[in-house]
């Protein structure tokens, strides 16, 4: 049984086909990579999965349930977490509040119970703070838990964004270029962390430009080119695929990894 299945998705922008009849499956407990040259439609696919945009035709199923017409927050409530290509942390909050904000869907209680600060609200807030600190500890950010998130360096902000997505306890985690803008050591730490996340039972779907990293951690890789799915398989098989080589021909001169 696959956790996420995308069936015959099509998306057009002003007559240009960003995605054309794409079908994909992400198996439960795996790490799936999605690669492709710039403008191949990778980010569009992520937007469609997380609900920021709606497909022109096709179907998206999560845990055997059709989620194509659901709003973004309803999809997150089902257990789809994501990070963004352009960093989207909440700079107007402290580091620990960013993590606690990520737990939003797990904290129950309405407006008035929070306003009146009922005893069980007090307890749940305390527990949330404790849990958030534990998450920060595992991310190595505990020393800065009270500083504003906007004051962290870029690399730490990316880690914080990942931590926020993890705080909502997702079943499927969409990572949109998590390694962009990071140093080499930070990328190594990141791939270790992603493997660790998988061991905790989270399925990871990752878009990445850094080929070395994707090839290393992914169980399966899909390749998009001009909105079409041109190859799918294990990293080794994808690497040997002649069509993929051709799609990356222009990039290969610049990036010896590809």
């Amino acid at each position: 049984m696959s956790l996420l299945s995308i069936e015959k998705i099509t998306k057009e922008y002003d007559g240009i086909k960003a995605l054309d009849w794409v079908s994909l499956k992400v198996e439960k407990g795996s790490i799936k990579g999605l690669i492709g040259p710039n403008g191949a439609g990778k980010s569009t696919l992520f937007h469609l999965i997380s609900g920021v945009e709606k497909p022109d035709s096709g179907k998206i199923c999560f845990k055997e349930r059709n989620i194509t017409s659901l709003a973004p927050h309803e999809r997150s409530a089902l257990g789809i977490g994501r990070t963004f290509q352009t960093l989207q942390i909440w700079g107007n909050m402290t580091v620990v509040e960013n993590i606690m904000g990520g737990m939003d869907r797990r904290l129950k209680g309405g407006f008035f119970s929070y306003g009146l600060w009922l005893p069980w609200i007090r307890r749940s807030e305390k527990e949330a703070l404790k849990e958030a600190k534990e998450i920060l500890d595992s991310l190595g950010l505990l020393g800065k838990w009270e500083s504003m998130a906007s004051q962290l360096p870029y690399g730490k902000q990316k880690i914080l964004e990942l931590g926020r997505a993890l705080a909502m306890k997702p079943q499927l985690l969409l990572l949109d270029e998590p390694a962009s803008g990071l140093t080499l050591t930070e990328i190594e730490q990141l791939s270790e962390r992603i493997s660790q996340i998988r061991q905790e039972g989270v399925t990871v779907f990752i878009v990445e430009h850094h080929m070395g990293m994707v090839m290393e951690i992914a169980d399966e890789i899909a390749v998009l080119h001009n909105g079409e799915l041109i190859a799918e398989g294990t990293p080794a098989a994808v690497k040997r695929n002649p069509e993929v080589m051709e799609a990356y021909l222009t990039r290969r001169n610049r990036n010896p990894d590809a």
């Binding site: 920021v52 973004p72 997150s76 909440w90 909050m93 939003d104 904290l107 306003g115 807030e125 909502m168």
Partner: protein
């Protein structure tokens, strides 16, 4: 000669420092707003509110502080919507007006007790906010501001034209004093405790909201709506909730206003009044529940002091507002203690600097 000049400098600086230091003790600092727990300072504020009218027993002062308290309730609700959720509303005076007219009509036409009308005002303002908020809150930024502005104007037109219900431009007179179980708030002192009591209650409610899940969701919506929905925060719902809450606050404030002034006429709820409330929030400091209250007190006093100068009052008023915005862009309490420390450091190095050693 040089010695003399230095001494003068020191005296003048000291003249600035003392009030600055004093304000820094009292005024809330928005830069520390992320430390959201209740602190000893809050007890100090509460004590000051309770004792101020007893120490300063001038009826004019009481009346002024009653108005400041009512405006502060209004600004508090708007502060949640503007400062936390990051939306703009220019129609807040309309909810204030709805509250005032609900109380006025219920008490004078149908003979309801003021206490019932008080809650009915909050409910009616909240209901109308819910009805118009659902379509309007899909707009963003300036479009939302324009839509709410339009709502405020429509409200004014309706009030002016439906003469049989609202008394048209003349308004409604002889609204009974606010009273609870036979206890009538008929002096300025009693009204002071009424308005500030309601304000303290609403303040605690708001502070509890902003230091918990609700406040985080609001700030998240203000910072990045995509990220907020990616962790399961229902963005439209969050905006609507806080809009309705702000309107309910405004309804309560309007009801108190009608009960204290015992009149309600459309002039009181015009665009100028909306701008005044927005100014209170901005001058006091956004993203902070203390700010709007400080702004409300400051502007109410400022208007009263300037009313002596009659035709010059408006220019002076606007110049003061501009200066405040230039020197305290994040609110009047902002980093005052940091400024004091900076000034002290400046003097400590002054001698060395004068001698050219630094």
């Amino acid at each position: 000669m040089v010695e003399q000049k230095k001494k003068e400098f020191r005296k003048r600086d000291f003249f600035f420092l003392v009030p600055l230091w004093f304000i820094s003790l009292i005024a809330p600092d928005p830069y520390l707003y992320h430390k959201k727990e209740f602190k000893k300072k809050d007890l100090f504020y509460l004590g000051a509110i309770c004792l101020a009218p007893l120490i300063w027993s001038d009826p004019h002062f009481h009346h002024l502080m009653v108005l400041a308290g009512i405006y502060a309730i209004l600004a508090l609700g708007l502060g949640l919507f503007m400062g936390y959720a990051g939306q703009i509303s220019l129609g807040h005076a309309a909810f204030f007006g709805i509250g005032a007219y609900t109380t006025a009509i219920l008490t004078t036409r149908y003979g309801f007790p003021p206490f019932v009308a008080f809650w009915a005002s909050a409910l009616s303002a909240a209901l109308i906010a819910y009805l118009i908020g659902r379509p309007i809150l899909k707009l963003k930024g300036y479009f939302l501001a324009l839509a709410t502005l339009g709502f405020g104007e429509i409200f004014l037109v309706i009030v002016r034209e439906s003469t049989h219900l609202t008394g048209g431009v003349i308004g409604i007179f002889d609204i009974p004093w606010f009273s609870v179980m036979g206890f009538s708030f008929d002096t300025y002192l009693k009204q002071y405790y009424l308005a500030w009591g309601v304000l303290v209650g609403l303040f605690i409610f708001s502070k509890n909201l902003v230091r918990s899940k609700v406040g985080r969701a609001l700030l998240a919506v203000a910072a990045s709506e995509d990220a907020a929905s990616s962790v399961g925060i229902d963005v439209p719902r969050t905006k609507l909730d806080i809009f309705v809450l702000g309107a309910a606050f405004a309804g309560l404030a309007g009801s108190l206003f009608a009960g204290v002034m015992s009149t309600a006429n459309p002039e009181a709820f015009s665009l100028g009044f909306t701008v005044l409330i927005v100014m209170m929030v901005i001058i006091g400091g956004m993203g902070n529940v203390y700010g709007p209250i400080a702004g409300a007190i400051l502007l109410t006093w400022l208007m009263d002091i300037l009313s002596k100068y009659q035709e010059y009052s408006l220019p002076i008023y606007s110049v003061i507002l501009i200066l405040l915005l230039i020197f305290f862009p994040d609110g009047i309490g902002t980093r005052l203690n940091v400024r004091v420390i900076y000034l002290i450091g400046y003097w400590a190095k002054k001698k060395k600097r004068d001698e050219g050693k630094l």
